[in-house]
Symmetry: C2
Subunit: 301 residues, 2 copies
């Protein structure tokens, strides 16, 4: 398998779903558990067909440093809970007001706003519970570091919520390259960076290893968001399973709007290549992570 065969990587990601989905099934309270509505809502969004990209990144980064497989699957699955929380809240009427996600009605459309807000809250909370429990037997120090880094990446200072706020506040008159970079790096990049670092930290990677994986994470984080911006312009609704063209309609700050479509494509590909190069010291062992980098910029949904 060469790093550029994104079809092969797509198959790899598809196979990697099974253990993650099994773990998520185990972690989430059963749909019959009282109060049922909230558990049904949590499960609905978690099992709505996500790519499980963040768990895969955590898992593969951890494997690069011979991390414990069970611990990586556990914590990787918790990252998917966090990702789902962010999507549910992002889709709310008061925020992006999206009725469609991955081709299905969003949480508040199905369960109502109150349950959607609480389902997001509960998924975020459960993620921290799961991660903390994973450190009870061993690696307490690493797990604490992971919780701290993850929470920071989800926060307001150069983290996800900060990025969401800056994005909501972006208007026609305040688009500039610095604000756009902040939004992209905070809203999407910080969490993806944290996902790969989580795997490496749990596997007790040394400083040099952590530096490589951090560079990789930062490059693919930005590449991912640029690819997302591009798909909003050139993708089809059928492929994406969500409302498209919204960025332009809402006058959002995006790469295509600021730099043009073709230059944005080139930047995304350059970033993916740089991400691959950052892992060159690991030779063949890094090929899955390198494949994911190329897949991210080549993906159609």
């Amino acid at each position: 398998m060469t790093v550029c065969e994104s079809t092969t990587i797509q198959e790899h990601l598809e196979r990697a779903r099974a253990p993650i989905d099994a773990e998520l099934e185990r972690i989430l309270p059963p749909a019959e558990e009282y109060p049922q509505s909230i558990h049904r809502a949590m499960r609905y969004s978690v099992f709505a067909g996500g790519k499980r990209l963040r768990p895969a990144l955590c898992l593969e980064a951890g494997r690069l440093f011979d991390g414990d497989e069970k611990l990586l699957v556990r914590v990787g699955s918790a990252l998917e809970l966090v990702h789902t929380y962010s999507l549910i809240h992002d889709d709310l009427p008061a925020l992006d007001n999206d009725a469609l996600r991955r081709g299905k009605p969003t949480s508040h459309v199905v369960f109502g706003e109150a349950t959607a807000i609480l389902a997001g809250d509960a998924l975020l909370t459960l993620a921290f519970e799961v991660i903390a429990a994973a450190g009870a037997d061993n690696g307490a120090r690493q797990v604490l570091q992971v919780i701290q880094e993850l929470a920071h990446a989800l926060g307001t200072v150069e983290g996800m919520v900060g990025g969401q706020v800056a994005d909501l506040e972006s208007t026609d008159s305040n688009h500039d390259s610095a604000r756009l970079d902040y939004i992209h790096s905070a809203k999407t990049g910080a969490f993806i960076r944290a996902a790969v670092r989580t795997g490496a930290i749990l596997a007790q990677a040394d400083h040099a290893g952590l530096d490589c994986i951090t560079t990789y994470g930062e490059k693919i984080g930005l590449a991912f968001q640029i690819a997302d911006d591009l798909l909003d312009v050139v993708g089809t609704q059928e492929q994406m399973g969500k409302t498209l063209g919204k960025d332009e309609k809402q006058h959002k700050a995006t790469y295509p709007a600021l730099h043009g479509i073709e230059p944005s494509r080139q930047i995304a590909h350059r970033l993916a290549t740089e991400a691959c190069l950052a892992l060159a010291p690991y030779g063949q062992r890094a090929q899955v992570l390198q494949g994911i980098a190329m897949y991210i910029v080549g993906r159609r949904r």
Copy 2:
């Protein structure tokens, strides 16, 4: 000071605010930090005049077992972030739709719904970051246990979010004593129980000690919610600083509605007394916690 002098305890709580507020000031990003709107919103609600009861409970429970003062203040303050998150989300239009809290307009009224949702998310996230960071130097195992217990108490299975959902779904036709007990124990009790256990766990209390403090926490947790229900019926809006009589109007399951006002008062006082008795083995050293128990049922706001 005897345990029944709730005025003295009120003064004690008032004095105990200073170190907690100083810590919260240090923990929260400055209002000028970009993006400013979210940091202003977080600070607005955290410094809106809360009683700092959960930090005080954590601190006093930790002191009972000679815990490290700095660690207790740090983690206790994080509990106030969590409490503030729960209030902001609870007040949202889709949930309790409250415009007034502690005599001030609620977060979504001042900052809009989107920022209020994100401010709640960010406070919850920051709390876990702060607690995890507190364990970096020492006590990693205890801090992990605290994160796990706290997250569970905030979750859907007999935790805060589960209680909120059950409360939202309670209607005229499904009021019964079992559901009411679930709502009270999950919505308010679990977090208060976790607050005192947090202090004791951080102070490395032994099994017997943890049992005593857990009983104390469970008793005052339920007493607190009954007192809250009573204040909604017999308190004045001026004293409480929030919209009153809402429980009855919304046909909520409450103790006064199910058991009557006077019997509810008696139950609350019996619980507070039992909470005090649970700490009898600690003699004079438990008098502040015992005072807080009596204060909870005697309070006017």
